[in-house]
Amino acid sequence: MSVLDWVVLTVTLAGIILYGILRSRGSRSMDDYLLAGQSLPWYHVGLSVMATQASAITFLSTPGQGFADGMRFVQFYFGLPLAMVVLSVTFVPIFHRLKVFTAYEFLEDRFDARVRTLTAGLFLLQRGLSTGLSIYAPAIILSTILGWNIYLTNLLMGGIVLIYTVTGGTKAISHTHLQQMVIITLAMGIAGYLTVKLLPEGIGFVDALHVAGKAGRVNLIDLKFDPNSRYNIWSGLIGGFFLQLSYFGTDQSQVGRYLTGETIGQSRLGLLMNGLLKVPMQFLILLVGVLVFVFYQFNPSPTFFNKQETDRLKASPYARQYQLAEIKHQNLTTQRQKAVIDMQAALKTDDEAAQNVASNTLHETDDALKTVKADVAKLIKQNNPAADTNDVNYIFLRFVLDYLPHGLIGLLIAVIFIASMGSIASAYNSLASTTVVDVYKRLINSKCSDTQYVAISRWSTIGWGIFCIVVAQFANQLGSMIEAVNILGSLFYGVILGVFVVAFYVKSIGGGATFWAAIIAEVLVVASWYFDLTAFLWLNVIGCLLVVGIAWILQRTIYR
C-alpha cells in the first residue's frame, strides 16, 4: 500500500467515526440510545438493515465466489424478498405496537419471563461468539495479504467501531450505515468499471459477459431439484426463506434496526427496500468477480491466490513439486489465453462450430487448472497442516492489490473495514440492548432512571466489544474454533426460531409448554451434534421443528 492508499483509508475511516459522533449528539434516553428515538425514515431503516447484513466477508468472498463458481450463489437470496413480506405483515406491526426495545420482550408478553430470559440468553451466547468471528474472518485475510499483525488488525476491526457505537448508540450506527453504503456502492462500482477497462483492446463489457457465459460462469439459475446441490432455485426460495426469516425476525442485530422506523409503515418500507435491492446488489457483487475471472482469462493468474502460503511452500522441502505445478499452470494459462482469443474471434464472426470448440477447450483447461490448484493445496496442507487451503476469499483482494490504481486500493481496503464496522456495530448494539433490557432491567434492577440505563448500556457495549475482540484473538490461535463457533450458532438458532414460530403462529400453545419444549429441543439438538447424527447446518431446521412439535405435544398432554 502506498502513502496515498494510507491517506484514503485513514481519511475515510476517520470521516465515518466523526460523522457518527456528530450526528448522534444528545442521545440521553433509552429510546434515543437503543432505538434512535424511533424517528428514522424508511431509507435509513433499509440501508441500515442492508449494511448490517453485508459484512466484510460479503465484499471479500462474494467476488471470489463469482470467480471460482460463477453466479449461482445469487439464488441463495431468492427467499429474502418473501421473508421481507412476511416480516412486514406479521413481525413489524406486533413489535411496534408493543413498543419493545428487543424481540425477546415480546416473548414475555406472549408467554412468560422464563421463555424471554432463555431466548435472550441463547441469543447473547451465539451473537457474542459469532461477532468475534466476524472480527477475525476479515482481519486474518487483511493481515495475511498486507502483512499486518493479526492481533492489531483484530483490535482495529473491533475497536474503532466502539468509538461511535458507545457514544452515539443506534442513531450513530444508522447514520454511519447510510454513509457506509454510499461509499461501498461507489467503490465497488469503480472497481467493476476499471476491471472492464483493464481487458484487452476491443473487448468490451458485453464481450466479457459472452466469454464468462461460454466458460460457465453466468450460471444464474439452476431449476433442477437436488438436495445435494447447495445453490439452486428451490434451496434459494425455500431454504433461503427460512434462513432469512429467522435472521431478520429473531436476531436482535436486525430487529433493532427496523424498530428505529418512525412508524410501522416506515419500518415496513425499509424492509421492503431491502427485499427489492438485495438480489440486484448480490448480482452486481458477483458480476465484479466474474469480470475479474474474464480478466484472468486474458492475463496470467496466480496458481494459488494466498501468496503467503505459496511463499512458505517455495521455502519448504516441497519447493520442487510446487515449481513443477507452477510450470504446468503457466502452460495451461497460455492454452486458456489462446482458447479465449479463438472464442472471441468466433463470437465476432458468429461461427457457432468454432465457438463450441473454443468453449470446450475453455472448460477443459478450467478443469485442468482446478486440478493443479488442488494439487498445490495438498502441498500447502502437507507443509503447514494449519494452513487455509481455500483461497476464494483472497482472489478479489489479490486482484485489487496487483492491478487497480493507488488510491482506489486504499478505498477498497476501507470498504472492507467499513462493511465490517457496519455489521459489528449492529451486533455490539444488539448485545448491549439485550443485556440491559432483557437481563439487567428485567432481572437485576428495574428502578434505575433513563439516564442510568443509558450509562449501563454504554458500559455494556464496551464490555461486549472487549469480549468479542478477545474471542477474535483466540480464534487466531485455535483454528478449530472457527468451526466450533459456526456449530454453536446452528445449535441455538433453530431453537430460537422455533420459539418465535410458536409465538406468532400457534396461539393455543402457552409459556410452560414452549419453555420446556425449548429446553428439550436444545438438549436433543446438542445430542444430535455430539453423536454426529447429521450435518450441523440441518440442526437449524431440526431445532425449529422440535420446539414446535414438542410444545404442541406438551400443551395437549401436561399443560392442557
Partner: protein, 41 residues
C-alpha cells in the same frame, strides 16, 4: 406507533399492492436471469 397508508409511495394504493410489487420484481429478476443465462451460454 401509527400505521397508516400515508407511508405508502405515491403510486401504490395499498400495502397488499406493494407486497405484490416486491414479489413481482423477484419473479421478473428470476426470468431476466434465466434469459441472460440462456443468451450468454
Amino acid at each position: 406507533m401509527p400505521e397508516n397508508t400515508t407511508d405508502l409511495p405515491p403510486f401504490v394504493r395499498s400495502w397488499a399492492q406493494l407486497y405484490a410489487i416486491v414479489i413481482g420484481c423477484l419473479v421478473l429478476e428470476m426470468l431476466l436471469f434465466y434469459g441472460l443465462m440462456r443468451w450468454l451460454s
